[in-house]
Symmetry: C2
Subunit: 255 residues, 2 copies
DNA sequence: TAGATTGTTAATCGATTAACAATC
DNA sequence: TAGATTGTTAATCGATTAACAATC
């Protein structure tokens, strides 16, 4: 049996920078691989087969092999995948090595929650500043990052390269603030405002809209479906401890 | 020309509660229709054609008609769709009329940000309480909702029907807290912890995992792709004001 | 070598788009 | 009525799964 790492230095397995078209469906799954591989590394696992990973992730082994082979062969027949190597490759695909710098515009609860999280650090994204118009926020240091006045933004952007802006301003200010940032040369946005902003609003702009409400709606939909299923009696076995479906009309908030 | 509302009381257009199988792809798009229809109502628009809505949403008119017809005919030939009526139907599909009650477990920045947002109210979801273990948070009132001690949770659940719990606790406590809530009879979760929790962990459990980091990764990926495209010179027209790609090695945080 | 597991092709399945008859 | 636009079928496209030869 070979050593765990010997094969890593094997034949040049597909130049990542010259890869051909990869479908959006595959791309959207990469971050999930990233997360699971991270967890496997944390657990000290050295190798994994597509079948084992598939059962962890609740997908088919076929899909995993198909996905990874869009970018070249990362595994080895009879062995499986080396966890560290595969993780490194996924990181490379996702551009983690770039180490982009971003700012957060809007230092409200959400902006502060994001900057304090380990999310950016884990992905090699550095938040270099927060911006707000609220005097109560300006000057604060949140999670090691200083909150600056929006008035300083232009000057700041001239001094510090900003690859990306996280938008956590109120919805009704989203368009205006985004426009302002675009004029300062910022071309990538992670938009939490709930206002769906469009990539066509600026030449070559990357806009990643996050709609938390959509996710809540899907949850609501599923609760509704379950309730309908129970009511129509199609669900034979009566669920026990089910408080949601039959409930009195009285709902006092009890504050 | 008929009045704007006359046709609403027309023939029974498909009983929503008896509908047949609808594909997940369609379901996932419903919240987006919900958002756009809301905006149209806000703008006072009375009717809209599939073509007009399609160009607003950057999808095909065909897809919109196909989607809506999964649930029965909501439109009228030669006229289009009545905005109010269509909105009402989408709400019905998504179960907005249910008016579910939820709690938020974890009163950190994210939990507080969520409870203060208008997200729940807009979707007829009521947050009846926040819970935390931090004495500094317990007793506070955030966005009209009281923060209670986790120790009171069991008693609270016995008194108040809780359909859903929002998980905003730290990642390493996610599994434990979710288990605790399941034992108290809560069967639906909106999980922000970053720890991917599984539906199979409880009988009939609905788990909506939110992975903000995945969205950040896709943004990072796209920035990477753009940078590669520029480097390989395939992008003929030189982008102006592009600070992200060529940058000095010095990156001081400037705090 | 024999066993295991990938890489890859072919088959299936599902989702989107195009087209047009129905009808308001 | 004529024009507009849906509802719906058929055609295309894309994504997933199954199967197995290649190979470590």
């Amino acid at each position: 049996m070979q050593t765990e790492n010997s094969w890593i230095s094997g034949s040049e397995q597909g130049d990542l920078s010259e890869r051909t078209y990869v479908s959006p469906a595959v791309i959207r799954r990469l971050p999930r691989y990233f997360r699971y591989l991270r967890e496997l590394i944390r657990q000290g696992k050295m190798r994994i087969s597509s079948g084992e990973l598939a059962s962890m992730m609740h997908v088919t082994a076929s899909q995993i092999r198909q996905d990874l082979n869009c970018f070249g062969g990362f595994g080895q027949q009879g062995y499986g995948y080396n966890v560290q190597y595969l993780y490194a490759k996924i990181c490379e695909l996702l551009g983690v090595q770039m180490g982009i710098q971003g700012i957060i515009v809007g230092a409200g609860d959400l902006g502060r929650a994001l900057v304090r999280s380990s999310m950016f650090e884990k992905r090699n994204v550095e938040i270099v500043s927060l911006f707000d118009v609220d005097p109560k926020q300006i000057g604060r240091v949140v999670g090691n990052v200083k909150v600056r006045d929006m008035a300083e933004l232009e000057d700041f952007c001239a001094r510090v390269p900003v690859d990306m802006a996280v938008l956590t301003v109120p919805k009704d200010q989203a368009s205006e603030v985004a426009g302002q940032l675009m004029r300062l040369g910022i071309t990538a946005f992670w938009n939490f405002t709930g206002k769906e902003l469009n990539e066509s609003e600026g030449e070559g702009v990357i806009m990643e809209n996050v709609h938390l409400g959509d996710s809540l709606m899907i949850l609501n939909y599923r609760l509704c479906q379950r309730a309908l299923g129970e009511k129509s009696g199609k669900n034979e076995k009566k669920k026990q401890g089910e408080g949601a479906s039959d409930r009195t009309a009285s709902r006092k908030k009890d504050l």
